[in-house]
Symmetry: C2
């Protein structure tokens, strides 16, 4: 394998790794929404239009396992739970901005999507 | 609504639009793979590890509808069909590179993913 071929291989593996998280429905929107600051579960569900409680709960667990999101419990009463980006999650935000810029210039909102 | 709030709204809509395509399993990998140049259906299927014929066929139709991929038929025999990125698809490549760089620095390949 030449060095050039190895570069291509490494690059593809990294993009594949990115989509192991971002290629799953809702994850990009959840991370983007938390880019505005920490939110409660209910506020997050309202912001990510169309997601169900069960799916949002699953996704937050996965994103926490990937160390992109933290879950913080504040003693009550009432007990408050909030979700926020980790430093790794925050580093994704400028790339999400660029994805948005690309989409605005190159994609047309479709009725079916 | 203040101008600041309108900016946030527009940005979220654009990121949401990006993930209407990229938040669907395989699409990011297909576009990234075609970044290396035009490929036949069979070569594309071999490069996108784990995808089935039926799903790859569906995804290519969707990506063509979104004007990110072209399908070119060359008269035979044998007839040859190849898939390639459009200019809109090519503009995504630098953003995919940045996603890969972020993933390599911030994600750990998990056995279950």
């Amino acid at each position: 394998m030449t060095p050039e071929h190895m570069d291509i291989h490494v690059c593809d593996a990294a993009v594949s790794l990115a989509f192991s998280v971002l290629g799953k429905r809702w994850n990009g929107m959840i991370l983007s929404t938390l880019g505005g600051g920490a939110l409660s579960f209910a506020a997050l569900r309202r912001s990510v239009t169309g997601i169900s409680d069960a799916v949002l709960s699953d996704r937050l667990t996965e994103l926490a396992d990937a160390t992109l999101v933290t879950r913080t419990v504040t003693d009550g009463p009432p007990i408050a739970v909030s979700y926020a980006l980790t430093p790794s999650g925050k580093e994704l935000l400028p790339v999400l901005d660029q994805l948005g810029t690309w989409a605005a210039a190159n994609l047309t909102p479709a009725p079916g999507r």
